[in-house]
Symmetry: C2
Subunit: 200 residues, 2 copies
C-alpha cells in the first residue's frame, strides 16, 4: 500500500509561508535589479508568479509588503552574521577579521545595495521609517557586538573596538553606493586597506 505523501496537500500554514516567501523573494530581486522607485506591486506579482488577489490577501497594502521586505533584508544579513559567528565559536576574533567579514558581506550579493535603497527611501517615507530605524538599530548593535568580542586592544591603540566597527560600517555603506556608479573596485579595496592600517 502506498503511503500518502504529506506534501501532496499542503496545509494552510505551509501555503501562506510559501506564498509570502515567494513575494518577498521577488520584492528583493526587484529592488536589487530595478531599484526602489521601479518596484511596483504589479511587477512583484508578475515576477513571483502570483495573482494580485493573492498578494493583497497576504499584504493588503504596498507598505505592508515593503515593510516585510525591509525586515527580510536585515534578517538575511543577520543570518550571514550568525553563520560566521558560529564557525568562530570558542576562539576570539581578531578585529581585522571583523573588518574583512564586513567587507565581504558588503560586496557579495545585493543585500547591502538593497539596504541602501531602503535607507535612502526611508528618509522621506514616514510610513517606512520606524521599521527601518528599528531593524537598522538591531543590525548595528549586532555588528558592534562583534567588535566587543575581539581581544582587548592594548597600548596606545585602545580605542573602543565597537566604535571602529561602526565607523567601518558607515565607510562601507558610502563605498557600496559608490560601487553602483563607479566600477573600480580595486581602488576601493586599496582605500579600505589604508583604513585598516589607520584603525588597527
Amino acid at each position: 500500500m502506498i503511503e500518502a505523501v504529506q506534501t501532496e496537500r499542503p496545509t494552510q500554514e505551509q501555503r501562506t509561508d510559501a506564498m509570502r516567501a515567494r513575494l518577498l523573494e521577488a520584492t528583493l530581486d526587484l529592488i536589487a535589479e530595478e531599484g526602489w522607485a521601479q518596484t511596483s506591486t504589479q511587477k512583484i506579482c508578475k515576477r513571483a508568479g502570483v495573482s494580485r488577489g493573492a498578494q493583497t490577501h497576504h499584504f493588503p497594502t504596498k507598505d505592508s509588503l515593503l515593510i516585510a521586505a525591509v525586515r527580510e533584508i536585515v534578517a538575511r544579513y543577520q543570518r550571514d552574521l550568525d553563520t560566521v559567528a558560529d564557525d568562530k565559536n570558542g576562539d576570539d576574533w581578531r578585529l581585522e577579521q571583523v573588518f574583512d567579514f564586513l567587507w565581504d558581506a558588503c560586496f557579495e550579493g545585493n543585500l547591502l545595495n538593497c539596504w541602501m535603497q531602503v535607507m535612502v527611501a526611508a528618509r522621506t517615507d514616514k510610513a517606512l521609517q520606524p521599521a527601518v530605524r528599528e531593524t537598522d538599530s538591531t543590525a548595528l548593535a549586532a555588528m558592534r557586538a562583534l567588535g566587543d568580542k575581539c581581544e582587548p586592544r592594548t597600548g596606545s591603540r585602545k580605542t573602543c573596538a565597537a566604535d571602529l566597527v561602526e565607523l567601518t560600517v558607515y565607510l562601507l555603506r558610502g563605498m557600496v553606493v559608490q560601487s553602483g556608479v563607479h566600477p573600480d573596485q580595486e581602488e576601493r579595496h586599496r582605500l579600505f586597506e589604508l583604513w585598516k592600517k589607520l584603525a588597527l
Copy 2:
C-alpha cells in the same frame, strides 16, 4: 528723460534661464523633501508655478530634467567648495580644516541628501548613470585636490592626504544616509572626531 528699465521686457535668453532655474530649484526641493521616487514632472511644475508646456519645452523628457538637476547639485556643491577655497587663498590648509569643511558641507542644507538619492537611483537607471558618474568624478577630484593643497605630512603619518579625504567622503556619505533615519547627530559627531584622531 526716463531711461527705459532693462528688465521691463526680458530677453528670451533671460526668460529661458529664469524658467530653467525655477524648474531646477523645484526639482531639488522635491527630491530633498519627498524623495526621488515621489518626484514627478507634474509635481515639479506645480511647485515651480510653471505650466507643463513650458517644462516640456525646456526639458522634453523627464530624464533630461533629472540629468540637469544632477549637474545642478554638483555645481552648487562645487560653488560652496570654491567659496571656501577663495577665503583661504594664499595660506595653506591644514588637513583638519578640510575634514571639518567636509563635515559642515555634508550636514548643512540638503545637497548631500539629494546626492545620495541620485547615486542610489543611478545604480539601476542606466540613462542617469553616465551623467552621475561624470559629475561625481569631477567633484571627487576637486575634494582630493583640497587634500593635496595641504601642508605636506611628516613623520610616520605620511599617508597620501587625498586618500584620507576620499575615505572621509565615503564615511560622511554613509553617515548622511544614516542621519535620514537616525536623529542622533551627537553620536555621529563623536565618531567623526574619533576618525579624525586616527587619520590626522
